[in-house]
Every structure is written in C-alpha cells, then in structure tokens.
Symmetry: C2
Subunit: 153 residues, 2 copies
Amino acid sequence: MFRLIHIAINEARRGMQNNHGGPFGAVIVKDGAIVSTAHNEVLISKDPTAHAEILAIRRASQVLGQFDLSDCEIYTTSQPCPMCFAAICWARIKRIHYGTTSEEVASIGFDDGHIYSIIKGEQPGEIESCVIEREACLELLKEWENKPDKQMY
Amino acid sequence: MFRLIHIAINEARRGMQNNHGGPFGAVIVKDGAIVSTAHNEVLISKDPTAHAEILAIRRASQVLGQFDLSDCEIYTTSQPCPMCFAAICWARIKRIHYGTTSEEVASIGFDDGHIYSIIKGEQPGEIESCVIEREACLELLKEWENKPDKQMY
C-alpha cells in the first residue's frame, strides 16, 4: 500500500530534520491498520539499537501486548540491516515492504552491507570472539530444558 | 575474566527462574569495570527484541551517554543471535566472550541457527520481501547526503 510507505517516509524525514538519527522510518500494520510508527533515534537516544524497525517492533508488541507479531507486516524506507532483519524474524512478521537496498544505504555511509558480509563469512570483521566457561553456560541450557513451567517463544 | 561470565550466568539464571525469558544473560565491561548487566526479558516485557545483549547494550549506552561502546567488551552466556551480533557491531564493541554456541542454543529450541541460515542464503526463509516506492525512498538518502549538519554514526 503506497499510503503506508509514505507514512514511513514522512517519519524518516521528520526524524532526520530533527537530528534524531539517520533517514530511516518504519510502520507496522495489522489487517490494514497501523499499529506503530517509528524513525531512527540513534543520535537523540544515544542508543545504537534504536533503528526505526526495532523501535516499531518494540512499540507494536507493547500496543498488541504480545511478542508474536505474526499477523503484521512492516513497511520500511530501506532494506533492514541484519539486526532489524533478525528482529523481524524473531517477531515472526511475514512480509517486509522496503524502498532502498542495503547497497544504496551503504553508499551514503551506513555499514549494513559490511555487517551482512561478516555474518555471511565473506569478511573476517573486527570483532574477536572467544569461548569462556562453556560447561557452566551449558548447565543453564539444561536447566531450561528441565524447567517444568517454561514458556517457549 | 571468569568472574564476569559468572555474573552473566547468575543474571541468566535469575531471569529464567523468574520467568522473565530464556536462559540468557550478558554483562558489558569497560576497563575491567561493569557498565551494565541484563538477562533475557522477552516473556516479561512481551518484546521480541528484549534479548540480554540488546538490553545490556541499551543500558550501557545510557550509562555512558554515548552510542559508541568501542572501549567495551561483552560477556554473554551464549553466542549472540544475528540480531544481537549486528547490534554489537553497531555499538562497535570489539570483543565477545561467550559460553555456548548457536548450535547448542538451537538444540533447546531457540531459532538462532535458522536465522543465521536465512541471512547466509542457505535457506529461503518464510519472510516475503518486496520493493515499494524506491525512488521516493532514494530521495531520503539524497536529502541525508546533502544535509549540511548531519552527524554520522
């Protein structure tokens, strides 16, 4: 729906003009009705996770009172970065409508493509990872498995 | 540091026992001092993005008053999912210390490995993606490029 992506575009523009963050906006919709809107707030909130899609998901889950957004679709001005794409997976959103690609976003200086490359194993990345106390952490997973009242999500 | 991963383990256990979420905890450290701690809160907050690492990053950025956590390291009981790994990249954290692997986490029913496979292009995934209003969204990126007072992040 063209109306919905234009609401996301207006959110993005408003956020950029007010120096809240980069030029990105998102809208979450259920049965054609808007559940939440958001724009990037990394700069104003000083929170590196405050991407438009993450904020829209967080708000939608509060509005609907559930972490499962499987009846929802997301409209976002740019293709989600890996953080936001995985968040969309966890939220079980079934359809993403986006405007510009990761490559186009990378061309104005945002690093989405680089992070995709690291995850795909195409580049080594700068982050060192090391394993520590595996046995003690494995114990946590066993405790979860044996927990009689656990709720899966 | 063994002390730090055990703080993350205790966080994870407390969160699981109180039914806040899955058995996952994280600690962010700067110059050997703890900046933030968190456990998974997906169930209690009904927010699918409320993983331990995301909450620890969000809290650390509030404590330090900056979105750049490049002087920090993260201790997390399990290998970060793609959402959390990308969040760690955006936060510019340089080192991850983790206990159990994505495969071990998958074995108790959490879907990290599946999301990694989708991002790597090894499986198609269930999410449909479609492009909409690319030109209008591209205009946003141009506006950002031409914005004289933009702050990159």
